[in-house]
Amino acid sequence: MSISNDLGAPSIEQYLHTQAHKSLLRFITCGSVDDGKSTLIGRLLYESKMLFEDQLATLAADSKSVGTQGDDLDFALLVDGLSAEREQGITIDVAYRFFATEKRKFIVADTPGHEQYTRNMVTGASTADVAVILIDARQGLLTQTRRHSYLVSLLGIRKIVVAINKLDMLDYSQEVFERIAHDYRAFAQRIGLDDIVCIPISALRGDNITTPSTNTPWYRGPVLIDYLDSVSIAGDMPTDPFRFPVQWVNRPNSEFRGYSGRIVGGSVRPGDRLRVLPSGKEATVARIVTQDGDLDLASNGQSVTLTLNEQIDISRGDVLCSTSDPAGVADQFEATIIWMSEEEMLAGRPCLLKIGAKTVSATLAPPKYKINVNTLEHLASKTLELNEIGVCTITLDQPISFDAYTQNRDMGGFILIDRISNNTIAAGLLHFALRRSQNIHWQAIEIDKRAHAALKGQRPAVLWFTGLSGAGKSTIANLVEKKLHALGRHSYLLDGDNVRHGLNKDLGFTDADRVENIRRVSEVAKLMVDAGLIVLVSFISPFRAERQMARELLDRGEFCEVFIDTPIAEAERRDPKGLYKKARRGDLKNFTGIDSPYETPEHPEIRIDTTTISSEDAAERIVAHLVANGVLLQA
């Protein structure tokens, strides 16, 4: 076996033909810290002659100045490209590297071993066909070996190479190699991995990487590069059902209406009958349009534009499917969640879910269980912390089309996005739709919000008072309600303390309970708006995300955020209920402003500075705002 860059190819056409028909293998290297992943990839690049002279010169210079291998080349420096990585001698982020042999092209994701960067490892694994799991022969199986193996299995990688590394430091002991291989196979069996090849290597010395090593005469299996060159990759199955998420509606003029996207399953031909999900309408493919001309056939992986014979309403995020085997449609699922945020998961807080080209609002229920990746035990938990994996129910605000992740990665894999920071906070794998999501329907009611409001002669609205404890929310809300009452308006005041005596008496003051507290009150306020009332909500409501959620439950113009802006020093001086004193003494935990955060509104409709304006004047201002916005006019 030799690696080369196909030197001296006889003709350019012949060369390009060979290149074009090479298959592509994507693999990841993973395992624990310091087990030599970066060194292994550096060596693969070096041995496959993918390095140029100037890069080798830089490597030699870097090896001398910051290397860890004395006078030898430090191959890890080829891949740890960030300054912080060089300083600490570790891999922080996933790096994608390219190399080729005569048979194949490779994209390798070099992923970090540190537990704190597990999410980056998951990123690398999500697109890989094969995983190379490195084990330091001196250490044997570690927590990270098990964690990464479990993640690899979870994400659907079935082919595993266990590279048992640093054997040079143990005199190439066959006994050590066999013991670790045995331990690994025993663990792998429990997580459903059975296609495993164990190879004794030294990434540093180059044993069994590209040529069989004379140091391991007892080993009869393939060297690493031979395995990677010949392992079969699950090909595109032509019998898979057709799936086409619509990315972009292509309308250059009124004559042409096309749907652009990438095929993520099966194939399509002009004349095929397709179903549009979630609407369920059907249509027939007219043309498969590309700039290079229309196609007779397009299959999995291709980016094309389809036109249809029928004029039906299709938008970005809809999925075109085969009619004989369409995807499912639902708004409630069971899913595996891999939590990727530094902040713990808060059940009940809405976030965004992106799947294919569709983004919807989603809420997670508390985990059914989380998984101890060492023991594979199912543990009870109310939340998930960074890098934890659990199984949860997820509820969406509208139905989506999907397949189980095990059937189709693109149709069953999703990410969750925080609504405030916009960060990706979790990855998820859909298992199945919950039956109740298909069985609970909205009851159509004829006496609707408009009818209720018309009878009361007003436009319903929510006045949402937020601010620190002792800021003056309830005092001002009370005055506003008295004025509304005097004007003959129908209103109701939902006060934080009062609701906690009844509806929410099961909730405490942890972040998770605060989120649930606000979720329930928002839903109650929404029902009251439906009944035609002007609802005053007086809650500390410390998190922007929940206030945003309350806003989004209502129609545009129905939600008015009133920020009662009192500095903490002033609220603490007033301390009408003596709570600040208690909190300062440590008798009261999770008190907003002391040991629990308050997130100031960024764009409230009304801001009341209680240090410069009296409660009476504040109430006047709020009523004036309602008048100016037409809430108090006859509906």
Partner: protein, 300 residues
């Protein structure tokens, strides 16, 4: 069923990225630097949105120090494709007469390219910019996401990158933040040349070898493109058969001696190349990790 060839797979992935970015942004723009990667990226954009025209403009952040042939080629491409072109030249650079000779390559690059890019993006309110960067170019590029978030100050924070799973890209951002999107992330230099050959994509003739006037300076062959290049004592331009593997500001871009005067010959030459394409780039030589530093400061 025939499976896709390597270039077909890369093409399909890039088109997917281009469409997704456009669908998720309010005001996208494509950075167009006139080089071979820009040429491929523009070609892919024309395919991605066909029969529509790509729904964005091209942005050339001009340092005023590009090769003359690049300006000619740029204007010809704009004519040919009918794309809108925005040219931005940093007024501070013009005022202070910033050039690579008196101010050094680092300051020259910072003022003209990094600051110029930030000014242009801010002035037009672009919230997403396509760039032709590839992961095989440089070590810190290998760590870059396809969708890369930049702060309101255009800074890149490599430790706060969003995990990027499957083919799902998170394009959401807050007011002031923007995205750099790299549709060619998974392409290599050799892929680019093979694709240019297969698709017959027009490129600046400077990539092809022909006799050009050059001086040898600090181990590089610098082409005397106009009278602004101050000749050092003893320097005498000579005609040599050269071409460029990468194009930038002419005083900072080294040529290579070559006989490759066709696309096929370029690919054949690449197969036996002993040096990387960026070897001719003076701006990468400043210090180890300089690309990472430039990216953190807002370079694309």
């Amino acid at each position: 069923m025939p499976s896709l060839t390597h270039l077909q797979r890369l093409e399909a992935e890039s088109i997917d990225i281009l469409r997704e970015a456009v669908a998720e942004s309010a005001k996208p723009v494509m950075l167009y630097s006139i080089g071979k990667d820009s040429a491929v990226m523009l070609h892919l954009a024309l395919k991605a949105f066909y029969p529509s025209k790509p729904p964005f403009a091209l942005l050339h952040v001009d340092t005023t120090w590009k090769f003359r042939e690049m300006y000619v080629f740029r204007d010809a491409m704009v004519q040919r494709t009918g794309m809108e072109l925005i040219v931005h030249t940093n007024p501070d650079g013009l005022r202070d007469g910033i050039n690579p000779f008196t101010h050094g390559s680092a300051l020259h690059t910072d003022i003209w390219k990094t600051q110029g890019l930030k000014q242009a993006l801010d002035a037009h309110g672009f919230d997403l910019a396509f760039g032709g960067a590839r992961r095989d170019e440089e070590k810190s590029r290998a760590k870059e996401r396809v969708f890369s978030l930049r702060s309101a100050q255009h800074r890149w924070d490599p430790k706060q990158q969003r995990p990027e799973l499957w083919r799902l890209y998170n394009a959401r951002k807050n007011i002031g933040e923007s995205l750099r999107v790299f549709p060619l992330s998974n392409w290599t230099e050799l892929d680019i040349w093979q694709y240019i050959y297969r698709e017959q994509i027009p490129i600046v003739p400077l990539y092809l070898a022909q006799p050009r006037p050059v001086v040898e300076r600090d181990g590089a062959l610098i082409m005397v493109d106009d009278e602004r290049l101050p000749l050092r004592a003893g320097e005498q331009p000579t005609m040599r058969n050269v071409r460029f593997r990468t194009l930038g500001c002419y005083p900072l871009t080294g040529a290579i001696e070559s006989e490759a005067d066709s696309l096929a010959a370029i690919i054949q030459e690449m197969l036996i190349a002993k040096t990387s394409e960026r070897q001719g780039r003076m701006i990468d030589r400043d210090v180890s990790g300089s690309m990472e530093k430039k990216k953190q400061e807002g370079y694309f």
